[in-house]
Subunit: 339 residues, 2 copies
């Protein structure tokens, strides 16, 4: 079995975007607009149609089985509007993911977004996490380390601001993928530099803190192959050493995993050369940031299974990366994707 | 001959730091403090002493010949104080680099920092660049794409704000290394995440702009092995393709080079697997971000020559990476390091 730990509902029916546009329009009239949750009217057939020709077709073509599926990351847009905006939007996005997983329980398992908002307390995110896991059977969450959208003006990950969320993640026994959303800072391209920069930034925050002493059971997934981290593994090992901190495998690799969203063979080879197989989770992020076909290979850039198949992994490591690690990191998968 | 294109004067005598502390103390009393240039009294013997046991010893031990030498990057601190602070500080730092190169013309060639300051015009940087190149014989410059120190609130690199500087770089026929300074944003660790994130950010700004159509002769060096770029080369190729932009080699590799400041073998192997040898410049950034000895190899992490020696390069590619490319990118080297 092959579990893809990183997929977003990038192909959601139009009505979801319409709901968001209506939120934006209301906020343009009044930035303090509270609004109400309202409805997003999407039929089961529309959900099926949005997936059959996209994620489900690609699963079949690529021979992958189960995708851990969360709302579209670039649309989380925590910087837009206020805490109410983010709450209603997140609830709708998560409920739509639940419906996807009800329709295709063998193909998708649900991962939630959190109703984060710049400057707002973390408690609403804890509540939505609990609702998603306890009531709706979600198996993980996406945590945005920079809800400002590229201005990086909130508390870093080791700050106590986040502790109630970490407590809930540990208590519920679900991991968080550390994943930013769209950048509204013109310096950053969302999928080209903001995502990768955030991955690297998050890792370094973990390296320089004692977060995992306070939360020995916390599990965090760094997406996009860990940003720049595996490519600069020597730099990070050396920085930790110069700072008198313990080796990375000892200090971090009991709590941190990297996914395989790296879209060429040399990158995957680098990842596998330095990160132990126990800490690598198969992922493609399809249908996502890069949708084209690589003229050098004739295959989709994000068909990451091919790079792993060509990497000469042992059977034991293959089994870990494609399935076993995901089951360890997301233990609620074993309990079934349905609540 | 082996040219190291990326070295900073990280071991400068104490008086340089004292000068900076005095600037800071004056700014603490009055943020609008103008001050005057003043003096930094350092003897030739003190300069010799600061280098003999450090950069010069390492050059000998590692068998490298010439280092392109600039002021300490993390100390540029463009976010500190105002335009006057930055001007006087940059002039002193650059003049000290000139003295180093006068004392050791065979070992060091001078690269300047620019007196950038958040919100300030670019003209003072153009003036200092001209002074350094035309009067002091410098062969290149470091350009900080984020003088805010991690808040990224100034104009991105393709903005016309920078055009007078690019015009001067082209006219003077010198390249710029795109290199940030210390982060004052608590999210970012200066050498662990800010440097690498900035490298990636700069590359993506170039990828999404037509800067090199306006400046076909502009040469930019992305340090630290290009941040996350080579590791995610497939992602960047695919993003360009999805956007309908030309292939990266066509659009960017006539104007962009990557250095080899990647501190482990697998990273260097990845760099060399994807970036053409014509676009790789040997560099170590010693004595820099990572000063320790890698227990896995018994050698310094930043002894990057060893990784290149072990990479199985052809003689032709070795010659390009170790010397030929640097001479093309920094043509003023041929004119001699002295003015």
């Amino acid at each position: 079995m092959i579990i893809d730990c990183h997929g977003h509902y990038t192909t959601a029916p139009r009505q979801l975007g319409d709901y968001r546009e209506a939120q934006r329009a209301a906020l343009a009239r009044d930035p303090d607009h509270l609004g109400e949750k309202g409805t997003v009217a999407i039929s089961d057939d529309e959900i099926r149609e949005s997936l059959e020709g996209a994620q489900l077709r690609l699963q079949r073509e690529r021979g992958t089985d189960l995708t851990l599926f969360s709302p579209r990351a670039s649309w989380m847009g925590h910087h837009e509007g206020n805490a109410h905006t983010s709450r209603f939007w997140s609830e709708h996005c998560n409920e739509l993911i639940r419906r996807v997983c009800d329709l295709y329980p063998d193909n998708f398992a649900p991962v939630c977004q959190l109703p984060q908002s710049p400057g707002a307390p973390i408690e609403p995110s804890v509540r939505e996490l609990r609702r998603c896991v306890e009531e709706l059977g979600f198996v993980g969450a996406n945590l945005n380390p920079d809800p400002s959208g590229g201005y990086w003006d909130g508390p870093p990950l080791p700050d106590r601001y986040w502790y109630r969320l970490y407590e809930a993640l540990c208590e519920l026994d679900v991991p968080a993928m550390v994943h930013v959303s769209a950048a509204c800072n013109p310096h950053f391209h969302t999928t080209g530099s903001h995502y990768l920069g955030a991955d690297t930034t998050a890792f370094m925050q973990l390296l320089t803190s004692d977060l995992f002493s306070d939360f020995p059971d916390l599990r965090l997934v760094i997406p996009h192959g860990g940003g720049a981290v595996p490519y600069h593994w020597g730099r990070f090992r050396g920085l930790a050493q110069d700072m008198g901190r313990p080796p990375l495998d000892e200090a971090l690799l009991g709590n941190v995993w990297f996914d395989t969203c790296v879209y060429h063979q040399a990158g995957i080879d680098c990842l596998l050369a330095v990160i132990p197989a126990d800490n690598v989770l198969f992922a493609s992020e399809m249908v996502g940031a890069v949708r084209g076909i690589d003229p050098e290979t004739g295959h989709h850039y994000d068909d990451t299974r091919r790079y792993l198949d060509a990497a000469g992994l042992s059977e034991a490591d293959r089994a870990k990366i494609f399935e076993g690690n995901a089951r360890r990191v997301y233990p609620r998968l074993a309990k079934g994707a349905t609540p």
